[in-house]
Amino acid sequence: MTSVSSASPGLRGLRDVKNRLFGPLPDVAQEAGYEPDHPKRVGFFTDTSVCIGCKACEVACKEWNTLPMDDSHGQRDALGLSGMSYDNTGQLGANSWRHVAFIEQSRAVDLPMPTFGRPGDDRHDHGPSPANAGDPISLANAQQSVLNAEALSEFDPQTGQTGADKQIRWLMSSDVCKHCTHAGCLDVCPTGALFRSEFGTVVVQGDICNGCGYCVAACPYGVIDQRKDDGRVFKCTMCYDRLTDGLQPACATACPTTSIQFGDLDELQARADARLATLKAQGVETARLYGRDENDGVGGDGAFFLLLDEPEVYGLPPDPIVTTRDLPAMWKAAGKAAVMMIGVAATAVLGSRRR
């Protein structure tokens, strides 16, 4: 498989790498031009089934990255309540790089009352052990003992009974930049201010960005935004400064329930698969992973999620596609249209009698 080439590494990469615009990429950092000895790709796995909505991640992010205050519509230095839920952050934006969504849901109860068994009776029958994941013992213990089906369905504060015929549940989810395999923002940045770090993350260089705003329009998740008074754009860096010093991102460090897990992406993916299998085996049929599949419209997310309802309930697009997938067809159309213009103009001139 090793093709010998005398070209520079960059050129060799250009020739060998498939799926430059779309589809799975085994090594995003190498595709971006890093030498093969770069660090492994890192990411976030946000398990919303254990999120308690404490917003420690938001606070830690704001503190570490010294982000200014804004209201739920991104207006700087404004203190405002969204008036819709406990969520007064409202959205991801230039000043909010973590955003905890709150969804209060109710439903009519038409199911028989749950049958009770002793919690943990069937503990040993469940799911594949996630023991192959990193830090295996403590993690597996944590998942098997606390986060089992009983906890989620019967004793979980997220699901409570109000009255005889109505049930209430709260969904909480800490949203963040997805650090896509094919990042639209990165593709369209005309200055090179956005770049792929050696960790496979996507970062803005504040001293390069000239505030053209193209990335804002190109993000299929609506993450990156412009700080109006500053002119430049800002988004989650996955704490690039902390990563280079061997620390975890601030949000993952602050999360008290390990809802936000940071680590090597392949390890997180294995952990998430195991967690999904565990929940499924325990009967949590609504559990699903979002952004985990490397064959999806953005080549998989560097920050992916375990959700308990459809993505759009959390304000996430159900089928995001990196816009540059269609760019070759667009350039073709623009080229043809330009040729058409010359053809029309030439015909117009040559078809007219002089004077």
Partner: protein
């Protein structure tokens, strides 16, 4: 089996909205273009969920009128430079001169509009640090820079009457970049997550190319004596016809994503654009050979082109503000199974 979150999507609804909690798009009739010949496209009732009705993709921070004006000026300048270069080669001095002035002035103003739109205008030159085929704005910078240099210099020497051969060379260089300058802006808008722009990615370059020819031809008709303005009239009418035909596709081929082109302010702008363009083209054919007719029809064509740019720009902006334009088409393509890629949700 227990209740709670253990049943798949078991009837959960947003709590504060009562039993029927999901938003639904209302059934509405879309009026067809033109003279009320009832082409009626129906948008079916679609249920969709959102996070408190908040938008999903961000609204572009591009400013109006900077960007629509840039689209218009770049288009008019581009098509004028092509017309001027071919007119020069076939010895039509008045048409050549007007085309070169239009291209020169248009290119300078479009550079101003583009730089003014930046959040940090003083960093405009950062655009020239890199060249990226994946960024239409980067490619556009490398189209606009040589174009405006060549077109500006050509217009200047035309004014001063110096270096006739260099003038012809500059005119040809600007004509080479003129077509791409007018059509790349379609890619610029389409290569985004803005639903109604991206959906029309195969059409926008043609819309803008046709619109550019209508504008460039129209402006030339205003300033060139009618006996030499034949090519300008022909290019303007052809451009207007192309613009109207392709705009019709944009407005009807994309289901719910065509909706913003019909509704509200963008809908009014698009309607006004079509009216002005069609009237301008018709008047050109009928009265383009009279001075007054040429001025009137040229003005209408240029105004139509300008309105088209504003209409398309604002329709895209509107499509970002309602989550249904993100959720509904994405749900539809998931359900149709027409994707060549996997779902982003792993169950």
């Amino acid at each position: 089996m227990t209740g709670g979150i253990t049943s798949p999507d078991a009837g959960w609804r947003q709590a504060d909205r009562g039993p029927s909690t999901q938003h639904s798009t209302k059934k509405r009739r879309k009026r067809g273009g033109g003279r009320g010949r009832g082409e009626v496209a129906m948008v079916d009732d679609v249920e969709f969920t959102s996070y408190y009705g908040r938008q999903i993709v961000k609204t572009p921070v591009w400013k109006s009128p900077d960007v629509p004006l840039y689209l218009f000026l770049g288009g008019a300048a581009g098509s004028s430079s092509i017309l001027a270069a071919i007119a020069d080669l076939t010895d039509r001095p008045k048409l050549t001169r007007v085309g070169r002035y239009t291209a020169g002035v248009g290119s300078m103003l479009s550079v101003v509009a583009l730089v003014h739109d930046l959040g940090r205008p003083e960093r405009f030159l950062h655009m020239l640090r890199v060249f990226k085929l994946t960024s239409p704005l980067s490619v556009g910078t490398y189209i606009l820079s040589p174009f405006s240099a060549a077109a500006g210099a050509t217009a200047a020497v035309e004014l001063l009457g110096w270096f006739p051969r260099l003038k012809r060379f500059g005119g040809v260089v600007s004509a080479i970049f003129g077509g791409p300058l007018a059509t790349y802006t379609g890619v610029l808008l389409a290569n985004t997550a803005v639903p109604s722009w991206h959906a029309a990615y195969k059409q926008l370059p043609y819309v803008f190319g046709g619109s550019a020819m209508a504008a460039g031809g129209g402006i030339s008709m205003i300033f060139v004596p009618v006996d030499e303005a034949g090519p300008a009239r022909k290019m303007a009418v052809a451009g207007a016809a192309i613009e109207l035909a392709v705009v019709h596709k944009v407005e009807h081929d994309h289901g719910i994503l065509s909706e913003p082109f019909h509704e509200g302010r963008p809908g009014k702008l698009m309607q006004a654009a079509k009216t002005a363009t069609a009237a301008g083209a018709g008047l050109t054919v009928l009265a383009g050979r009279t001075r007054i007719g040429a001025i009137a029809s040229g003005t209408l064509l240029a105004a139509g082109s300008l309105l088209t740019r504003f209409g398309v720009f604002e329709a895209g902006i509107a499509s970002t503000k309602d989550p249904k334009y993100v959720v509904v088409p994405q749900r539809e393509r998931l359900e149709a199974g027409t994707n060549e890629h996997a779902s982003t949700v792993t169950r």
